[in-house]
């Protein structure tokens, strides 16, 4: 037997402890929890490994994450949306979540192994990365931004990730197995306990992880972008104004520059030179534009199965980022 018998799951202390640790109700069966811990590399049989569950869970995770980002930050540039999605539910983030839940891996998969351990075929040290895990052929040879938005996965990746079933009997790193477990757990929760509980689970385990979206920007020409933005939105042209300064002729001067459009201040930045302060102030103004959050947001998934549609408020849709 490549993986433990489902019967053994009921006797497993580790699985009960894991279910209690994640505050899952008793009606979530331990057999399913045991199945989510079996990676296709340990057991190629699709009826006993977590491949199908992880596909379902991955789709749910990306749906809830992207609706959260798009509804709460309607003006985010698409690159930042991709990066933020990856930071919330990317493979590495999921592997970290699994290790925070206390998931331990079995040294070698097999039928006699304790079912509460993560089972996958380990990549031996010194062994090269197997072909299935190496960079796949691109989705399309000419990967444009539009194609990345419309046709690729939720992270906008340039190469297709390996499908779970293609990893059958292939040695994989622990990160791959751990992320497939987290996805499969979300998928099985959806099947056994329903969408409302999955949404609560997602909120408490994934959205609660702090992500500083304001640090994910990388502006190259913020002053140009900002004047394009002001022209597009019909504001007065931005003007950099010196709010305060100290030590202009010293070794460490500090200038505080604000960007004004008409009488309104858009952003403020401090720097050791006038140019730096102006650049930073323009970047801060652009961030102030992109990081706009509407006050009350109803995400689409919150209306699933609701009969009373009066609670629904249409979300803001922005016309898009500044293109220079």
């Amino acid at each position: 037997m490549p993986s433990p018998h489902p019967y053994e799951a009921n006797q497993s202390i580790k699985l009960s402890a894991l279910r209690a640790r994640l505050s899952l109700p008793q009606r979530f069966p331990l057999q399913t929890l045991a199945r989510t811990l079996v990676h296709p590399s340990a057991d190629p049989d699709p009826a006993f490994n977590n491949a199908s569950l992880s596909i379902l869970g991955g789709n749910l995770l990306s749906y809830y994450t992207s609706e959260h980002l798009l509804c709460n930050y309607p003006r985010l540039p698409i690159e930042v949306v991709f990066a933020a999605t990856e930071a919330y539910v990317g493979p590495r983030a999921l592997a970290i979540v699994a290790s925070e839940w206390g998931i331990e891996a079995a040294a070698e998969p097999g039928g006699e192994v304790e079912p509460g351990l993560l089972q996958f075929k380990r990549l031996k040290p010194g062994e090269g990365i197997p072909a299935a895990l190496r960079k796949q052929v691109p989705w399309k040879w000419n990967v444009t931004q539009t194609h990345r938005i419309v046709a690729t996965d939720e992270f906008g990746s340039r190469n297709a990730p390996p499908t779970p079933q293609s990893l059958a009997n292939v040695p994989v790193p622990m990160e791959e197995a751990a992320q497939s477990f987290v996805r499969a757990l979300v998928g099985s929760l959806h099947l056994h306990l329903g969408a409302p509980l999955v949404k609560r689970f997602f909120k408490s385990h994934f959205l609660s992880r702090h992500l500083e979206i304001s640090d994910m920007f990388d502006f190259r020409t913020p002053t140009r972008d900002l004047s394009r933005l002001c022209a597009r939105e019909g504001f007065e042209a931005p003007v950099a104004r010196l709010i305060s300064e100290t030590g202009r002729l010293s070794r460490h001067p500090v200038f505080v520059v604000g960007i004004y459009s008409g009488k309104d201040k858009l952003g403020e930045g401090a720097g050791a030179s006038l140019e730096e302060a102006r650049f930073r102030a323009a970047a801060a103004s652009l961030k102030a534009w992109y990081l706009y959050r509407p006050l009350d947001v109803t995400v689409p998934s919150s209306m699933e199965g609701e009969l009373d549609t009066t609670k629904w408020k249409p979300n803001m849709i922005d016309c898009g980022e500044v293109i220079v």
Binding site: R241, I243, K265, G267, G271
Partner: protein, 220 residues
């Protein structure tokens, strides 16, 4: 009550013409006591509660504004925060104008300069870094042809700077309408040659400066 004199009175650069009037005693500000008195800065207004009962004091240290704080201009038309911001702005301005200034910081005294006190709110904006200008769009096709001809004939004489001065446009515009690839390549070769003469320290310093500059747009 105030013993402070205006700066014009302190300065002794211009001596008044000798007069026949009897000399009177002049009190200069050059005593320790008066100088110390000048430095007495008035309490920040938010630390002076207006009511006798205990109140909440909110006086955060000056720091860079949060990027999540959307300015009024960037809010969509139907956002509730627009009304809130507008009402806050009007009340805070009215309050600041109503707060009495300390007599030592009254206008006409050395303390009224804003180097020691936080600036009082006023309708005037801070000075611009560069003077804002209106785009003129005044060059016609004939002049653009002329720019191109001059640049093509003698790129050494008619540089971007000289053409911009002559036609009253920006250097960027000259580069846009009359691009001279050979001259650009030549200049970049010259720069390359002079860069090759740099020592290790200068090269590293320039490299570090470029890397720091990349960070401006990333961690701002």
């Amino acid at each position: 009550m105030s013993t402070c004199k205006s700066a014009a009175r302190i300065s002794t650069a211009v001596r008044p013409p000798p007069s026949l009037l009897p000399r009177t005693q002049i009190r200069h500000e050059s005593t320790t006591r008066r100088h110390k008195k000048l430095l007495t800065v008035q309490q920040a207004p938010s630390y002076a509660p207006t009511r006798p009962e205990p109140t909440l004091i909110f006086n955060p240290p000056s720091s860079a504004p949060s990027a999540y704080h959307t300015p009024l201009k960037f809010l969509p038309a139907n956002d509730k925060r627009r009304a809130l911001y507008a009402s806050f702005l009007s009340t805070s301005t009215a309050r600041a104008h109503a707060t009495a200034t300390s007599p030592v910081a009254a206008p006409g005294t050395p303390l009224s300069t804003n180097s020691l006190l936080p600036p009082r709110p006023s309708a005037s904006l801070p000075p611009p870094l560069r003077q804002p200008y209106e785009k003129k769009y005044h060059l016609t096709d004939v002049e653009i042809k002329e720019i191109q001809r001059l640049r093509k004939e003698d790129p050494e004489r008619w540089t971007r700077v000289r053409l911009a001065e002559k036609f009253g446009c920006s250097q960027f515009f000259v580069g846009m309408v009359a691009k001279n690839e050979e001259k650009a390549a030549k200049v970049s070769r010259e720069h390359e040659r002079s860069r090759a003469r740099w020592g290790e320290r200068r090269r590293e310093a320039r490299h570090e400066r470029e890397r720091r500059k990349e960070l401006w747009g990333r961690d701002a």
